[in-house]
């Protein structure tokens, strides 16, 4: 099959199907609603299920229920909706179930606005829900990358028995780009027989599987948290992804930026290069685990004088950048949050002001 032109939200829906996920529960919210609309057409065509929950709280627990039964399942929402799902995400992580959550971010806090934002960085990477849990968080910068990340998210969720989040800003959901669905990213059946409540008869086993996040015995609860911690440490070792850009040059400024913001930065970097100014960039593709070593190495380059975290939030990722740079160079933040996406010209001005 050749390329077709798709809106990010449609492509995310189709990617779920292509990854073999036939269970989708959601509640509409701008700028993500087209996923639900697309799958309301497509799921019946492929024998799948789309159920609209009565709220995002309900959807979160529908996801938990399906995941506990070993069904491959996902949902999509936008910032305020994801806030409502965070309780269920914590339960799913505590009970070690695989599920995929997509957040097409809009401006906050509160109802905020409907335009693009990256202000849910903390919510996605540092918690959101309660307890010692983490999610593997991937941040696409194009519609094609969103497809690939969604298709990759399901086997990763199953590998770690943990929620995986795709964190895209509103533009990822709303813009149109040509895409194709790679055959090689189709996932294998999961290892659910080992842990899911999918019926002893179904799996021809005499062993009962119990899915729960309640551990009243403090020793057992500590043990569960140690199991989770080991998984998150393993993610840090095995799942870090990032894209370096112009890092072979003798750049004096290093940009760290992700999602569509990084595409604005790329245009700025190309324009600056034409003016004789080299700027390097590390684009985290996973926000948890964060590309700690890549940022440290890039900031440690002899020519590098400053690291700039550029984000559509009021300085959330900059905390991770500061942590990873380890004082090798000063770290500054630049960003906007409210729906206005900084232009390449603005980024060029910021870089020049850092050099002067």
């Amino acid at each position: 099959m050749g390329k077709i032109l798709m809106k990010g939200n449609e492509a995310i829906g189709e990617a779920g199907i292509r990854a073999g996920c036939l269970n989708y529960f959601a509640y509409p919210i701008t700028p993500q609603s087209e996923v639900a609309e697309y799958l309301s057409h497509r799921m019946p065509e492929v024998g799948g299920v789309f159920l609209q929950g009565e709220s995002e709280v309900a959807v979160g627990y529908m996801i938990f229920g399906a995941a506990a039964c070993g069904a491959r399942v996902f949902t999509t929402s936008s910032s305020p909706g994801v806030s409502l799902m965070c309780e269920a995400i914590s339960y799913i992580a505590g009970a070690q179930c695989p599920a995929v959550f997509v957040n097409i971010m809009r401006g906050g806090p509160g109802l905020g606005g409907i335009l693009p934002s990256q202000a849910d960085y903390f919510q996605a990477t540092k918690g959101g829900g309660h307890g010692d849990y983490r999610m593997l968080v991937m941040a696409p910068a194009s519609v094609q990358e969103a497809v690939e990340m969604v298709m990759t998210a399901f086997p990763l969720a199953e590998k770690y028995r943990n929620p995986v989040m795709i964190l895209g800003d509103g533009l990822i959901g709303q813009m149109m780009e040509p895409v194709e669905f790679p055959e090689h990213l189709k996932s294998e059946p999961s290892n659910k027989d080992e842990w899911a409540t999918n019926g002893m008869e179904t799996r021809k086993s005499k062993k009962r599987n119990l899915v729960k996040s309640l551990f009243l015995d403090p020793v057992k609860l500590n043990e569960n948290n140690l199991i989770l911690k080991e998984k998150y440490e393993r993610m840090k070792r095995e799942e870090v992804r990032y894209e370096p850009y112009n890092t072979d040059s003798d750049y004096r400024i290093l940009i760290v930026s992700y999602g569509t913001m990084s595409r604005v930065c790329k245009t700025a970097i190309d324009n600056l290069k034409a003016e004789g100014i080299d700027v390097g960039m590390i684009r985290p593709q996973t926000l948890f685990p964060f590309p700690e070593d890549a940022v440290f190495q890039a900031a440690s380059k002899k020519s590098c004088r400053m690291a700039l975290s550029i984000e559509m939030s009021m300085g959330q990722m900059v905390e991770d950048v500061e942590r990873c740079v380890h004082g090798r160079c000063p770290v500054k933040w630049y960003g906007k949050c409210g729906g206005e996406v900084p232009t390449p010209e603005e980024i060029m001005d910021v870089v020049k002001s850092c050099l002067s």
Binding site: K3, I4, L5, M6, K7, E10, E14, T30, P31, E34, Y38, H41, G113, I114, L115, P116, G170, L171, Q174, M175, M176, E177, P178, T260, R263, V264, K266, T267, G339, V341, P342, T343, P344
Partner: protein, 230 residues
């Protein structure tokens, strides 16, 4: 072959078929040909990438642009300004109504039934065969039926808009033209015009087409790209 459309032209089609890009470019094309043109943004369902994004460029060309009031421009609300009905009652030589996608987007037209009553108009369906749901003749006809049912108005022509945005090639334009020609023949609806990205217009053999061609100067671009001049 020039595009000679006049009167009230209603642009419909599925989500992302290219209605807004076409409305903006058609308005500029006809204005530059000396016709008095107005455009109304009737997209009540799409949150981003709407005609309002090009309001400055259109106004500079002297094209009338009807939009919701400024303070509601970014609202997630289906606001239909009364100025649209006013425009239909006193239309320009060419009045373009840029409608939202699918049957959901076309529903707004039913609210304009009174204003349109007794007026001559043409409703044109934009088709990009490289979009989901309109990649087959059956899909295009299903979309046509749904839009006609929601708007309670008949579609009277087709606009071919085959593209993969930046990855559009000459071969893809030819393939898309053949597809919409088939849709035109099978449905009996005239093919009003097709579009070609302006960057490809030199390498494309225009003699291959039996309908007019609208050169598209892309306006709805992401923040890291620049809109072309109209």
């Amino acid at each position: 072959m020039d595009i000679l459309l006049e009167g009230i032209i209603i642009i419909v089609g599925n989500y992302g078929s290219g209605k807004t890009e076409i409305s903006i470019n058609l308005a500029a094309n006809r204005k530059l040909a000396g016709i008095d043109v107005s455009v109304a943004d009737l997209d009540l369902v799409n949150p981003y990438f709407r005609t309002r994004e090009a309001r400055k460029q259109l106004s500079e060309l002297g094209i009338g642009v009807i939009l919701p009031p400024d303070k509601y421009l970014q609202a997630d609300l289906p606001i239909l300004t009364p100025a649209v009905a006013g425009l239909i009652r006193k239309p320009s030589m060419l009045t373009i109504l840029d409608v939202g996608g699918d049957k959901v987007g076309a529903t707004v037209l039913a609210a304009l039934a009174d204003a349109l009553d007794g007026k001559t108009y043409r409703m044109l369906q934009v088709i990009n065969p490289f979009r989901p749901f309109t990649d087959t003749l059956k899909g295009c006809m299903k979309m046509k039926g749904e839009i006609e049912k929601a708007s309670k108005m008949p579609i009277s022509g087709i606009i071919g808009n085959a593209n993969l945005i930046d990855e559009t090639t000459a071969d893809l334009i030819y393939e898309g033209y053949d597809f919409v020609l088939t849709v035109s023949l099978e449905s009996g609806l005239p093919l009003e015009f097709i579009t070609v990205p302006s960057r490809l217009s030199d390498e494309i053999d225009m003699k291959r087409f039996s309908c007019p061609v609208l050169k598209l100067h892309r306006q709805l671009v992401p923040p890291w790209e620049k809109a072309a001049s109209l």
